[in-house]
């Protein structure tokens, strides 16, 4: 359109925030709400807000988003078609996760979620972080043929504290994967690859274990019937106030004079972070806040401590040492839970006060940090323009992408 007309268009932020020669040309005006990967990249990844949930990776219909091996962050690996789906499913941009959780709750939630203090019987109790409930539950489901595998986490061989996605298909696998690792796996984005390497037959049923943001993505994809969620038959959220960025976590630990190689397990509870070695010797005990800078910055915007989109949520808060606090939230979760009855010692309890308090604190933190409004009744989608309006001018505003990082790929025509 002629230049003079153009000046009359609204003060909607234009696309891009610099660094890309495509922006300097205005021969064609873009459609409102149009998204390419580079917009997600600038608004979330370059802005250091990515929580490594891999929802975008799973959502992309042309498999254009891969996972950067070093940084465990989404990165473009093939041509982007501009379909917006990565944005639509990213809980740090286009997906209003609080709305999603509310909708999912209305559609699939039990009248009243059930809360348990539980622990697994036998091996899983040993292998687990708290009561070994996740390990016990999944092992029982596997053995009952309810699921064919579970996407969980395993510590990287070369890089301790680094979580790699792992498809467990046996009790042994699950025992090996027991315990928490405080970095992200990007497992949701690897389901297809994991399945390709496994031999689970056609249309396998999987459980997906992950932090609440990962489960938000999975639940959202499932709600809209998108293919990547097809294999996911059960979601288990690990209650979480924050996860860590691997490199920063490592150097923070090193700066406290602890060799990460020696850490057998790390635990976060009651605001305290502890590390023990394989002999059970305490290596580190410190206020978890002193690790703030090592956390994923995007986690500050998350109010979903309890993993409200999941079938089942688990955490340590509110139950005694050696027990897991479990919230069963959907029919699907309840039938899995009942099915695994024999493998678990469970007592139904009131919602523990500490859990409520932590969840409440978590929500307040998110609301104070979130540049956009927190509103479970607003529309689930957040447009590019709305995002820019809320975030521009804050310390979470989009950052220019590094053109060398976002490669352009050959197209069909």
């Amino acid at each position: 359109m002629p230049a003079d007309d153009r000046s009359a268009t609204p003060a909607v932020p234009t696309k891009g925030v610099g660094g890309d020669p495509r922006e300097s040309n205005d021969d064609v005006e873009e459609a409102p709400g149009k998204i390419w990967f580079r917009d997600l990249d600038e608004a979330v990844i370059e802005a250091d807000r990515c929580v490594q949930c891999a929802s975008c990776v799973a959502a992309c219909p042309s498999d254009s988003i891969g996972i950067d091996a070093e940084e465990k962050r989404p990165t473009l690996v093939r041509m982007c078609t501009g379909c917006s789906r990565c944005w639509d499913f990213c809980p740090r941009s286009g997906l209003r996760y609080e709305r999603l959780i509310q909708l999912a709750g209305e559609e699939r939630g039990l009248e009243e979620p059930e809360t348990y203090a539980a622990r697994a019987t036998g091996g899983p109790a040993e292998a687990g972080q708290d009561g070994g409930v996740v390990t016990g539950l999944l092992a029982a489901l596997l053995e009952a043929g309810e699921i064919d595998g579970a996407v969980v986490a395993r510590e990287s061989d070369e890089q301790p504290l680094r979580a790699d996605a792992f498809l467990a298909t046996s009790r042994e696998d699950l025992l090996e994967a027991g315990g928490s690792i405080y970095t992200q796996t990007m497992g949701l984005g690897q389901i297809e690859d994991l399945l390709a390497d496994a031999d689970l037959g056609a249309e396998p049923d999987l459980a997906l274990v992950g932090t609440p943001c990962t489960i938000q993505g999975a639940t959202a994809l499932g709600r809209y019937g998108h293919e990547p969620a097809d294999p996911i038959a059960l979601t288990v959220a690990l209650m979480c106030t924050r996860s860590f960025e691997y490199d920063r976590l490592r150097s923070r630990i090193e700066s406290l004079g602890v060799d990460p190689e020696r850490i057998e397990s790390l635990d976060v509870g009651g605001g305290v972070l502890t590390a023990v070695d394989d002999a059970g010797e305490l290596l580190l005990e410190t206020d978890v806040e002193s690790f703030d800078a090592a956390g994923l910055r995007g986690c500050d915007e998350c109010a979903d401590f309890v993993g409200g989109g999941a079938d089942v949520s688990v955490g340590s808060v509110g139950t005694d040492e050696g027990y897991t606090t479990v919230v069963v939230r959907t029919n699907n979760g309840r039938s899995a839970w009942n099915r695994a009855e024999d493998a678990l010692e469970a007592t139904e309890i009131e919602r523990p006060e500490p859990l409520e308090r932590l969840a409440e604190w978590n929500r307040r933190r998110a609301e104070s940090v979130l540049p956009r409004g927190f509103d479970p009744d607003a529309e689930v989608g957040i447009t590019y323009e709305d995002h820019r309006r809320a975030y521009d001018g804050t310390d979470r505003e989009p950052q220019p992408l590094n053109p060398a990082r976002v490669h352009q790929y050959e197209e069909w025509c």
Binding site: M1, A8, P21, T75, C80, V406, E410, C413
Partner: protein, 798 residues
Amino acid sequence: MSDPTVVSPSWLEAHCESVTVVDVRSRRDYEDLGHVPGAVNVPAAEFRDPSRVAAGKLPSADDFAALLSEAGIDPDDSIVAVCDEQGVNAARFLLTAAVYGHDGRLSLLDGGLAAWLEDGGDLTDETPDPTPTSYEAELTDDAPLVDRQAVEAAVEGDAIVVDTRTPAEYDQSHIPGAVQVGWEDLLDESGRLRPEDELEELLAAKGIRPEERIVLYCNTARRLSHTYVVLGDLGYEDVAFYEGSLTDWVRSEAAEWNPVELEARVRSYADAGGFEAMIEELGEDVTNHLKLIGLYHQKQEGYFMLRTRAPGGILTAEQASVIGEVADEFARAPEEYGGPDQNPVFGDGYLDLTTRQDVQMHWIRIRDVDEIWSRYEAVGLETMQACGNSVRNVVGCPAAGIDPNETVDVRPVVERVSERFLGDPHYANLPRKFKISVTGCHENCARAQIQDLAFTPAIRDGRDGFAVRAGGGLSDGPRVASDLELFVEPDRVEELVEAVADLYVDYGSYLDTAVNRLRFLVEELGVERFREELASYADFEFETPDEVLTTDYRDDHVGVHEQTDGRSSVGLNVPTGRMGGDEFRELARLADELGGGELRLTPNQNLLVPHLADERLESFLEASVVDRYGPDPGPFSRGIVTCTGREFCNYGIVETKNRAIRWARDLDEWSEAVGIADEREAVRVHLSGCSASCAQPQIADVGLRGEVYRDDYESGRAADVGLGGDLGNDEFIDWLVGKVPIDDVPAVVRAVTLAYETDRDEGETFAEWTRRRSDVELRNLVSEAAGTKPAAIGTEAS
């Protein structure tokens, strides 16, 4: 020659008297933004010669010596190099000095200017006035430069080859056996070098140890310089670099990138295991290379789209007949994909005419290509370089040589340009694809604005020739090609294309960015500078045109037209470009029997059959296949253009051809019913499966581009809608409303068509009308028709 080291800002502060600081930023930054006190300026652009590809990007020894003597540098000066790009350009300077035998110590300022400032360093805008020295530079015998052979040896195991680019780039392609360590990985978040022990650990984890022999590369020998300096600082002793880098590796005549070799290899699998064996032996990666010879792996594993080029759109009847026969015989879906009923509208055994005057067909198997190519060879057909990063099929006026009003008959020009680049490995792997068109008529029918390089008729001193435009294109980042105010004679076109390709190769990869299409280069350099640079690549004097002859824009050739020689050409309408292989063959037969044995493909996916003498015209028009693709279609069938779309394309978000054909038929009926079918000759609706824009939606009346939409409860396929493309006025569409649910699109088309009919002024075209109406009005019109809530964004203002 000394190994470079890295020094900290505080070191520099303490030693500033005894060292020469070399600032390698641009002269402007150096002068305007200030520099380290005492620093001299040697801009990177001056010691890095992007034009020297084969020899790498090093300047000549004499040029380098001249630069340093001008800057007052002596051979035994201790140098500290500084830049603001995290050290890359500064490192490049040090490496260059090392290669040319600088005697003094060479150091890089850790963290660059940013660190200097952070640590409290001062800047000054006083520029020293150095006394020129008599610096001499000579390539040292032990310069750590290695060539391709040495890299091949390294690959075989006598050294570790290190890729210093990003993991994403590495994943895309790398030298076999190379390990990846991005140069930025060596830096911490503030851009300074990480602590030594971390670096050593990081390097050791990749098997890069001080005692090993190491060969570095990147894309254009810039980033590797940084790693080179860092390794030197860490005490690695045997570090060499491959100056040609990946650019050279890829472009050299490696079999996997040489189209001729590649073709031979693929043919050998015909009887030896086909697709599976090929993947097994050559790796998954081979499907990327196959594009070079016209084979595109389709969405369905093991099947290919085959693109046949027709330079200028011209085919002999014999060639067309072979294409039709091949499609009929080989472009057939296997049973598991529906066999003869694979496509509910077009059945099986069909082909697609494209907007670049190619012919595409699907379901081709590796075991069949040998046979197909043999038949092609017998009649002189080519699939080579129809795709990939090469000079694409050259688009030309479909009416070349028969249009009574043309200035230049472009056929020989098109042929020469095509011949020149066909199978030439040097040009087979350009930074990106390279699209050229040549128009000889006054109606821009080869669509100059959307090409990387385009020629349209012009006059200079009474000589006929072409005006040149460069830097157009559509996909993401659409741009109208710039007028270079350059006149070339037809005989020079080939040379000019070569010059542009050379410049493109040198600069295109130099940009080191995502966006190395020619248009971004033109945009970045500016038209003037681009023209100047280009002049240095061409062997003839540049002239400006006296007069350009393009008066109009013709968007199709449908209908019966009189030729210069009095015979007729018949433009057929092939909606969406798809027709049966048997039908194509039948048309070839008719062209042979009744016409001049020739067929032409047009840039809007149609066909033109020329050379029909009056006495034969009638019987041609009566043939049933001609009737089917009749020269008098409804306005929507006439204007519809689509890309391949989701049916076969890995990227397509929406299915295009079947959908568009149905739309066009329904809309034609509707236009009859509402009485506008006679008013509107053609309504140009272009539907692209995704934003790659293969259907050229930006030049249509109604441009459509595949998308998805989602609300709180549902998601589905959709299209972005734009209005008012007009190549006659250098206008692309603006995208007005995003994510219109796909089934609502026909209602949108009806609404805008009616609104125009009701509201237009006398003689006003559709595009003019869209320009007269405000975007807000148009947005509301589209959203209302779509039944979506009034466009959420973009309507609130003005």
